[in-house]
Symmetry: C2
């Protein structure tokens, strides 16, 4: 145990996700030895982010304004909506530069084990949004794991009532990977989804 506030800061850092007690200690000593201005900047930024960042009222993505920068962008195709679990998925898809539509961020996936049901997700807003606007296609891009699949299946059933075309991202071998290291489910999906090339 350290003296007073040093231990307090170690404890606070240890409460952040993915930071164990050793890391928390290392970061705290880094802070003690940092330039005062750097620490002030971090402290102020923390407070500012918490104060100013909120969720886009249309898509649920993080935003500094009522609508996020993607929903505000008139050049995006409002007829395509890609449904993802988290804001970081939006960033991952934006990096591909292949999708020019809008997003809908659920804020998680259905997971009975963690006590997350459909009501805990941004689903009512999605249904309202689809009822209000003319949409050509809803692309389900939840994670390819148990929770993501369950969420996609649930949404597929729900969306049938709206008669909107629904698609899912392809499963298959990751590009740059080795076939022999692919698990059998991925390899099975790659077979199911095989494309005719000639």
């Amino acid at each position: 145990m350290y003296e007073g506030i040093i231990q307090d800061l170690i404890d606070e850092f240890g409460r952040l996700p993915g930071i164990g007690p050793k890391s928390a200690q290392r970061i705290t000593f880094h802070i003690v030895q940092s330039q005062s201005a750097d620490v002030t900047r971090l402290a102020e930024l923390l407070a500012t982010v918490r104060e100013r960042v909120r969720f886009c009222t249309q898509c649920g993505n993080v935003s500094e304004q009522e609508l996020c920068s993607i929903c505000r962008d008139a050049r995006r195709d409002a007829g395509l909506i890609c449904v993802v679990e988290e804001p970081k998925d939006v960033v991952a898809i934006e990096r591909t530069r292949q999708f020019r539509g809008l997003y809908h961020v659920l804020g998680g996936a259905i997971s009975p084990i963690d006590g997350v049901g459909p009501d805990d997700l941004n689903i009512t807003q999605l249904m309202r949004r689809l009822a209000d606007t003319e949409v050509r296609e809803v692309i389900l891009a939840t994670d390819p794991n148990l929770e993501g699949e369950a969420t996609a299946t649930y949404l597929t059933r729900l969306l049938k009532t709206l008669e909107v075309p629904v698609s899912r991202l392809a499963s298959g071998l990751p590009v740059g990977g080795d076939l022999e290291f692919a698990d059998e489910i991925t390899l099975g999906r790659a077979f199911e989804g095989r494309l005719t090339v000639s």
Copy 2:
């Protein structure tokens, strides 16, 4: 990339030791979704620690006062000084409850590869301290790695001039470990340092 200050905070967290870009992103989203009061507490604590925590003028340990709590404690044996690399080593040794003397924190170890020489460490203060006070034993407790050994060797030579008895922590098999998994250097040290038991 995220919008403005969200990315700024991810970047700031990413600059802390041991936090990669993925962790920085996870922590930032945790902050966005945390209670405002929790974030304020972390931000204030950061600023307070940087402002109030300094290094003990006697031993170099972290402290909120001019002398750290160990140097201030009159019950500690001022005739024993244990030399360590970092404040976290003090905490590790205190946890054993076996040592009742004082410490001297070097602030690192000699490492030519990282450009750390003897002048970058708290060594002048150690020599001054030993010249000023009556010390029965100096225990070198630097890390049992290349840098720690080099630092201990350097200090041993330097301390010879003061005619103070100098000792080093024993090397050997870690308690609870398996002999077969010990590396050959550790096992060699365990042989060298073997104790007669009957």
